[in-house]
């Protein structure tokens, strides 16, 4: 095995996408579509797992060049990179991708054929772009994957093309991530200017070697790019709206791809980030603040998918916190754990709520234990990992490592630890709310089980949440780092946190007074209305501007196009028109007509009368005589 096989990874799902959509005129039946999609999604996992094993056993530092483009003096050397980081994340992405797309086969079975093709093609492309970004050995490929992911997420969030809400949500996700992408592009271009190469292996040392100001600028731009993609404060608003897409889309988007990309970016460029302490501190602060904000907002959600969305915001906040504390390896471990339990949560919640006729209210979870036991128990496993139930779940180990990093990072770190701990408590609260609602029995519920394509991914992922628990420490060590260990008391406090959260969840579910308060807290549910503020500050003025520009407000439509035309018309009126019948022309024309008229007058001289001629001759001779006399006079 060699990194050469990594070249297979990206094209496989992309090929699946091409077959599905590119062969548009060809008729595919449902089964063919599902087969192609499943092949495109699982084959990368088949290739990636041996690659990961190869990485585990042997030297794991491979660069696989693709081809070189010579652009003037610069050489754009496209390459894939297989190192512990990309191998670990790649394995996670391929497995989660295979699970989610496999799950989609049953979940989307009722869709139209055309919709199904579009859906699976986009999902495969989504997976391909994430793999492209993860395995990228140069900034071009990296950015290509990054942007493709943004595009696919736009299409997938707006999958229900007949729903205005879905399209608005897709547009919002696209615009907000696009704003952040601009920062990332700027950072990558600055790095390219420093290094003169696009290889990540050259960019990072060149970025470190440059002066403080530029390094700080690059690090800050990278952070801004990551924050946008990862839906961190203040860019978080697109993620809760993105729930308009189908549930498997959310499962993929929230766990292994898209939102995690920001964390991956920062982990990838961590050596560079770590040379700018200020940006690191900002990263940690943003991460902690987002973790707390997301957890708080999630507690007040009444919709399972929105709850999970805020949960993702919060969990990525934890990852950013770890990166800001100089522990990107811990962040990646949390990424892996989070990918497993978050996709599990989405898939099982999707399965439960699909039975409940499409509504995704938490109330739809009611009676889930009886009605849909497999999915419900899987959801419990996911929620346990999300909350971080000690010792058995992966979530506990990775979150504990993050909390430990914070504790050990000095006085400022202890503040962050406090924030992160309260976020962890709230995580327990919101994670168990749907679980407890599921315990409430419902009369007349029939027990049903999903098909194999529903249950197999869910069971795999549920097993994964527990199987990953003992692997958190080896993962961090695989990435050449050690898991930090705080004093025992601190660890115990961390272990108690999810149970406090569980107690809160109990109170919120079973005490009507509190649950009513939660149901009424609309301000908190809307994420302290940051979205509304953006609507007023950014969207409405922009819409007003566009309306004004299109002339809907009684103004001139399209001033950019119209004003030059109006100016030109004014010029014509003021300058060209008077000159068009210019005095010279008119003088000539007048001269011509005057000549005709004068000739008419002159013809009267020729009266034909003898007497007139005699007079004329006399006058003429007299004049000639006068002339002769005058000229000879002396």
């Amino acid at each position: 095995m060699s990194p050469f096989f990594a070249l297979l990874l990206v094209p496989m799902p992309a090929m699946g996408a091409f077959l599905l959509l590119g062969l548009g005129p060809a008729e595919f039946n449902r089964r063919a579509i599902q087969t192609i999609a499943l092949a495109g999604a699982t084959l990368p996992a088949v290739v990636m797992l041996p690659l990961g094993a190869y990485c585990l056993m042997g030297t794991c530092d491979g660069i696989q060049p693709i081809f070189d483009l010579e652009v003037g003096p610069a050489v754009v050397a496209l390459a894939l990179k297989l190192d512990p980081l990309s191998a670990l994340v790649g394995v996670t992405v391929t497995i989660i991708g295979a699970c989610v797309i496999g799950y989609s086969i049953d979940y989307m079975a009722k869709s139209e054929i055309a919709d199904l093709r579009r859906y699976f093609a986009l999902m495969n492309l989504f997976l391909a772009s994430m793999l492209c970004m993860v395995l990228a050995g140069d900034s071009i490929i990296f950015f290509l994957g990054w942007e493709l992911m943004g595009l696919c997420s736009f299409f997938l969030i707006a999958y229900h093309v007949t729903s205005a809400r879905a399209i608005a949500a897709g547009r919002k996700a696209f615009v907000i991530t696009r704003v952040a992408d601009a920062f990332l592009l700027a950072a990558l271009l600055l790095l390219f200017l420093e290094a003169g190469s696009v290889r990540l292996d050259d960019l990072i040392p060149a970025g470190i070697a440059t002066d403080d100001v530029r390094r700080g600028l690059i690090a800050a731009l990278l952070l801004a790019g990551a924050m946008g993609k990862s839906a961190q404060l203040p860019f978080h608003t697109w993620l809760p709206s993105a729930m308009a897409g189908p549930t498997p889309v959310s499962a993929l988007l929230h766990s292994a791809t898209m939102v995690a990309a920001g964390a991956y970016l920062l982990a990838r460029l961590a050596p560079l980030m770590e040379t700018v302490p200020l940006v690191m501190a900002v990263t940690a602060t943003v991460g902690a603040a987002t973790a707390l904000f997301g957890a708080t907002a999630a507690v007040f959600q009444l919709d399972v998918k929105r709850l999970l969305a805020y949960s993702s915001i919060s969990q990525i906040g934890f990852m950013l916190l770890a990166i800001g504390l100089g522990q990107p390896e811990v962040a990646i471990a949390h990424f892996v754990v989070h990918a497993i339990f978050k996709s599990l949560l989405f898939l099982s919640a999707g399965d439960i709520t699909q039975i409940a006729r499409g509504t995704t209210d938490i109330a739809a979870m009611r009676g889930a234990l009886r009605a849909r036991p497999v999915a419900y128990l899987a959801f419990v496993a996911g929620a346990a990992s999300l909350a971080g139930i000690p010792f058995v779940t992966g979530g506990w180990f990775s979150k504990e490592a993050i909390l430990a990093s914070a504790w050990l990072a000095g006085p400022f770190g202890i503040v962050l630890w406090g924030v992160a701990l309260s976020a962890a408590v709230l995580t327990g609260a919101y994670a168990f709310r749907p679980v407890l609602v599921g315990l409430i029995p419902v009369k007349g519920a029939r027990m049903t089980f999903g098909g194999v394509f529903t249950n197999l991914p869910i069971l795999l992922l549920a097993a994964g949440t527990f199987a990953i628990a003992p692997l958190v420490t080896p993962m961090v060590e695989f990435l050449d780092a050690t898991v930090p260990h705080p004093p025992l008391a601190v660890e115990l406090v961390g272990a108690v946190a999810p149970f406090v959260g569980l107690a809160l969840a109990f109170a919120m579910t079973f005490m009507p007074r509190i649950s009513r308060r939660v149901a009424q807290a609309r301000r908190m549910r809307s994420g302290i209305r940051i979205d509304g503020v953006y609507q007023i500050v950014f969207v409405q003025p922009f819409v007003a501007l566009v309306r004004w520009l299109t002339g809907q407000r009684g103004s001139i439509a399209d001033p950019v196009g119209t004003l030059p035309v109006m100016g030109a018309q004014w010029l014509v009126g003021a300058i060209v028109r008077p000159l068009a019948h210019d005095p010279l022309d008119r003088a000539w024309a007048g001269f011509a007509s005057a000549t005709v008229r004068a000739w008419g007058v002159a013809r009267h001289v020729q009266s034909g009368r003898v007497r007139d001629y005699a007079l004329a001759i006399a006058v003429g001779v007299a004049l000639l005589l006068l002339l002769g006399w005058g000229t000879t006079w002396r």
Binding site: S607, G608, R609, V610, R611, A614, L615, A618
Partner: protein, 102 residues
């Protein structure tokens, strides 16, 4: 022949010419206009004779003979036209024959 006499003769000649010209212009009858032309011709003829006498040159008298011949031929032509017009169109007014095509 004194210069005074020459001057008087030239004034008389100019007067004759002016009277003839005047007559030519104000009279509309063709016959009268021919007569006015004759008077006009006498003016220069007199001036030739007076100038010849003043300079003692017979050329002046030669010119007088020439003018007489000119006047005779002119009168012959003029009267022929007059008769022709009178017979053919029954007009004696020169203004009415301003358009020859009629």
């Amino acid at each position: 022949m004194t210069p005074l006499f020459l001057t008087a003769a030239l004034v008389l000649a100019t007067g004759l010419f002016a009277v003839g010209l005047f007559g030519l212009m104000i009279r509309r009858g063709i016959l009268f206009q021919i007569i006015a032309l004759e008077i006009m011709l006498t003016g220069p003829a007199l001036a030739f004779v007076a100038a010849g006498a003043h300079h003692g040159d017979p050329g002046g008298q030669g010119m007088f003979i020439f003018v007489l011949v000119l006047a005779a031929s002119e009168v012959a032509l003029g009267l022929a036209l007059y008769l022709r017009l009178g017979r053919h169109a029954d007009v004696s007014d020169s203004d009415t024959v301003n358009l020859l095509r009629r």
